[in-house]
Every structure is written in structure tokens, then in C-alpha cells.
């Protein structure tokens, strides 16, 4: 997986060093604007696409394995005669939704544990971080596979598998951030002023770590899309006829040399999704560093 979780962490740490906070559309470069617009377009397609497509994604609507640009099927049909374009748009929606849920849930669990460990400290910190480190030491993809395989073949189980291996990163990140922020002069000064407990956490600590978590999450969406697709590809997604991009690609492999589009097009869509989110996430990071408020 090219966007390993660790390199994501390192990128975030770099972004933090500049103490970045606010963003401004005007600070964006052309490529960055384009990538954000690209993400917007993708989200739009995923939201409204399935509703406007002329066919159903799970009912055959034409001949088998018709090539692109033939007989009213812009991107051809698959082996059961279902319209590829419709299935791809539906698959995008599924992918995107799943990736967002996985990222949000992982970030939420990790943030909760990280804040508890970092702010409370002491035995709670030690216990929570031992637990987290154990999960971090496991090979993420393999554990995700094992979990998904144990729960059963469906998108939901793949999502659970990924969440289980993804939250520890946020826990580590947030815990480190909280520890760092708590030691900063402004928190100490607030403490000296008499602020403590929830108020200190909420007013003086949490606002400092929020941008980090948000940037990390936005950088992670692309990686989650790809991980989900990989799990789906090796058979850990919902089986056909559900429009799931990874599964479509691996099923299409059987006819790949005669009908390349059934396998290649879903893979390309996955790549596009990941690319848009990776590029936009990186753009956000660069801009944050540049504005460096």
C-alpha cells in the first residue's frame, strides 16, 4: 500500500510543526484548486449519479460483454449484461460512503482513546497505549483480512476489519498531540490562571489538535478507499451482483484478456477516487503549511 499509515503520520507531524490553523481558498494554487474541485465533482457524482443513470446497477440491461460505446452502453456491459457505467457510479457511491464511515469511526474512536490517555496520563495512559501499541504492531492488512474473513463476506465486515486496524493510529497521534499541547506554555499559563479539567481540555487543548485530526482524516480517505478495494478484490466484499468496485475488478479478471473493460474500468475508478482524495488531502496540508497561521 503506497500510502502507508506511517508516512501519513509523518506528513502530519511535519504539517503541525508549522503550527498551521486557518485556511483560505485564496492561498491555494491552481493544481490544489483543481484537486478540490475534482473531489467536489466526485462527491457530486456519487451522490446524485445513481439517481440519474438510465439503468439499474443490478439488473441486466443489454448483451453480455458489450464493449464501450456500443448499443447505448457508454462504458459497455459486464458478463451478465449489466451496464458498466451505472455499476461504476453506484460502486463509487458505495466506496465513498464506506471510506467516509471507516475514517470517521476510526478517527472518533482513536481521538477518544488518545485524549483520555494523553490528558489523564498515569496508569490509564500506560494501559491504553500498551493496548494501542499491540494493535499497531500487528500487520494491519492481514488482521483486517482475518477479521473480515471471520465475520463473513460483506462490505460491512471489510469496514469493521479496517476500523479495527485503523483507530490505533489516531489514538497514537492524538495522544501525542495532547501530550505536546498540554506541555505548551499557553496551557500551562491557563492552568496557572486557574482553568482546569474539562474547561482546560475543551478551551485550550482540543482546538489545538482538531486541525491535525481533520487533516489526517482527509489524507486517510484515499488510503481507506484503496484498502477497502483490496479487501474487496480478494473476496472480502459483498459478492456480485452488488456493485462493489474491488469485487467487480476481480470478477472481471476471468474475461480480462477478451473484455478488458470489465476489470480495468472499476480499477481505474478506484484509482481516480484515491487520487482525488490523496491529492486534495496533500493540497490541504501544503496550504496549511504555507498559510502557517
Amino acid at each position: 500500500m503506497p500510502f502507508s499509515r506511517k508516512s501519513t503520520l509523518e506528513k502530519i507531524e511535519k504539517a503541525q510543526q508549522s503550527g498551521a490553523r486557518d485556511t483560505a481558498w485564496s492561498a491555494l494554487g491552481v493544481g490544489e484548486k483543481l484537486s478540490l474541485i475534482g473531489v467536489g465533482v466526485i462527491v457530486l457524482i456519487a451522490l446524485v449519479g445513481p439517481a440519474v443513470m438510465p439503468y439499474s446497477p443490478i439488473i441486466p440491461s443489454g448483451g453480455q460483454l458489450e464493449p464501450p460505446l456500443s448499443s447505448g452502453h457508454v462504458l459497455g456491459t459486464d458478463v451478465l449484461g449489466m451496464d458498466m457505467a451505472t455499476r461504476l457510479v453506484a460502486g463509487m457511491q458505495r466506496s465513498l460512503f464506506a471510506a467516509l464511515v471507516v475514517t470517521l469511526v476510526s478517527a472518533a474512536i482513536g481521538t477518544l482513546i488518545g485524549v483520555a490517555a494523553g490528558f489523564k496520563g498515569g496508569w490509564l495512559d500506560t494501559a491504553l497505549m500498551r493496548f494501542t501499541d499491540l494493535f499497531l504492531a500487528f500487520p494491519a492488512m492481514i488482521i483486517a483480512m482475518a477479521i473480515a474473513a471471520a465475520i463473513g463476506q460483506s462490505l460491512g465486515s471489510a469496514m469493521i476489519g479496517i476500523i479495527v486496524v485503523w483507530w490505533p493510529l489516531y489514538a497514537r497521534l492524538v495522544r501525542g498531540e495532547v501530550r505536546r499541547v498540554v506541555a505548551l506554555p499557553h496551557v500551562q499559563a491557563a492552568r496557572v490562571s486557574g482553568v482546569k479539567g474539562w474547561r482546560l481540555l475543551w478551551r485550550h487543548v482540543i482546538p489545538a489538535i482538531t486541525p491535525t485530526v481533520v487533516v489526517t482524516a482527509s489524507l486517510d480517505i484515499g488510503a481507506v478507499v484503496m484498502t477497502l478495494a483490496a479487501l474487496s478484490f480478494i473476496g472480502l466484499g459483498t459478492p456480485a451482483p452488488a456493485p462493489e468496485l474491488g469485487r467487480m475488478a476481480s470478477d472481471g479478471m476471468k474475461y480480462f484478456l477478451n473484455a478488458w473493460w470489465v476489470a480495468v474500468l472499476p480499477s481505474v475508478v478506484i484509482g481516480l477516487l484515491a487520487f482525488a482524495f490523496n491529492y486534495a488531502g496533500d493540497a490541504i496540508r501544503v496550504v496549511l503549511r504555507r498559510t502557517g497561521v
Binding site: K6, A140, A150, I234, S250, V264, S267
Partner: protein, 332 residues
Amino acid sequence: MLTFVAKRLGSLVVVLFFLTLLVFTLGKVADSDPVRTYVGVNASAEAVEAAREELGLDDSIPVQFGNFVAGAVQGDFGISLASKRPIADELSTRLPATLELAGWALALTVVIGVSLSALYSRPGKFGAFMRFVFFSAASAPSFLIAMLSVLVFYKWLDGALPAAGRSSYGPYDDGTGFYVLDGILHGSPTYTGDAIAHLILPALAASVGSGVALARVLADGISSSLTSPWARTARSLGEREGTVLRRHALRNASSPALSLLAVQAGFMVSSLVVVEQVFSWNGLGSYLSGAIGVGDFPAIAAVCLILGAVYVILNTLVDVALAAVDPRVRLT
């Protein structure tokens, strides 16, 4: 240094234990009935009972776990529900296949990473274009790269490179299971060349993503090294940019790159699962996807355990290597 190694080995054992526990637990909560999968839906009650005993499911859970651990340590992972043969037999021929591919892919990752890192941090339009290309490559799923390379080198270039299997000739009976090595040991250039040709596309597909990630880390490290105060010191002493890069920046950028490489190696083991499936590579990965297809959880557990162990051991080795290189690591 000795205490550091001892500590890392200690935590290695702990992690491996919990990994085993996790996989075992998943096997218990798995939503399929292993006995039914084993004997079939229509089997008689006696057959089911016999199967229970054969699979060791009559024992209490802790005893089962003890047997599982004892077996795993000796390389015995039980019986496959699908093939009804010992899983270890199947794995023994497939593990070398996966390791061979992984080794080549890792080497290729380093080659790609180092050679591309210089392009990544170029200023101006060219650099921006390269970053665009890098992002594309890094965002492409490995199966997409695999498919495209098959289309190009197998279909359009008319079989310039083989796109399936490990060899056109089959294994040597007394071989090690590593085909390239076998070819060399038997002094057969044809066999060796054929094995290498079969390796190229799968290794490439498995390494492009990690290679690009490595290039990024190297490039980042080098560029931050080049702007550091000690690089300024070197310049003020009259060193040329090339010397600053070779003498100072590369050294300082290599240690984050090394630790990234360890992580990438772990991820590669898993992206191999995907690539093996595309190239019909007879390794652990294609075995795993086969097992997933029929719900053969003991087989899935065995593969996960082996790949997981490889990952954990590899990370420990890299940690020790880093500590040997950089004395500051040992203190933390």
C-alpha cells in the same frame, strides 16, 4: 545494544502471542460452522461427531488454544476444511513462492525509490508534473497496475513477458522452491531466465506503489536536510551542492527511509495477496483468496499467522538494524 536486542525480542514474542490469540479467537467467533464445512451439509450425525473429534473441537477452549499454539510453533496448522489435507503441506510449497516474489518486489522498491527521489523534489513545472505522476502511481491499486502491465506486455506486445505462473517448466524435484535460485544451482540459464521473466511483471505491480512512497520520503528527507543549518555550515565552508547532497543530506535522509522501508515491506506482503491472484502465482496469496472463497477459516488463519509473523519479525530486524546504525535510537 544487547539489552536493546533482548527487549525487542521480548516484545516480539509478546506480539506474536497476541497475534496467535487474536487469530484463534477469530476462528472461534467465525460465522461458519467448521464441522459442517468439513463434512458437508448432508452428513450423518456420526460423521459430524467423528469430524468434531478429528478437528479437536471436543476439547475445552483453553486446551484448544494450547494445541493451536503448540501446533503453530511446530509448523502444524491443522487440517484444511476444503481439501481435508494438512494445511502445512500446502503452505510448504507456497511459502517460498511468496517469499521469492516479495524479495524481488522489495529490491525493485528500493531501485524505484532511490532513482525517482531525485525527480520528485525538482523545482518548477517539471517537478509539479512529476508530483502529479507520482500521485497517480501511488493512488493506482496494485491490481490496476498488474492488469495494465499484462495488457501492455502480454497482450499488445504479443507475449513479450509471461503473465501467469512462475515458470514454463515446473519445479525441480529437489529444488528449494525459489525458482531463480534453483535455476542457478542447477546451472541452467534457460530455467533461470524463464523464472526471472515470470517474476518481472508481478514484482513490478507489487512494488510501484511502495517505490513511489519511498521516493517521497527520501525526497522529503533530502530537501529538509538541504535546508538545515548544518547544510548551511557545509556551504559556508565552500562545499558544492553535490558534495552537500552526497556527504551530508543522503546520510541524514536514509534513516527515515529505512524505517519506512520496513513498514512498506509489511504492506507489500499483503499487496502480494492481490498481485498473486492476478498473475495466478502459486503463493500464499492465491491460497488465501481461494480459502476465503470457500470459507476455509483454518487455512485463512494459518496464512494470516504466517504473513503476520513475517511482518513482525521483519520489523524487529529493521529496528535492530537502525539501532546498530544510529546510536541515538538505542536510548529511546
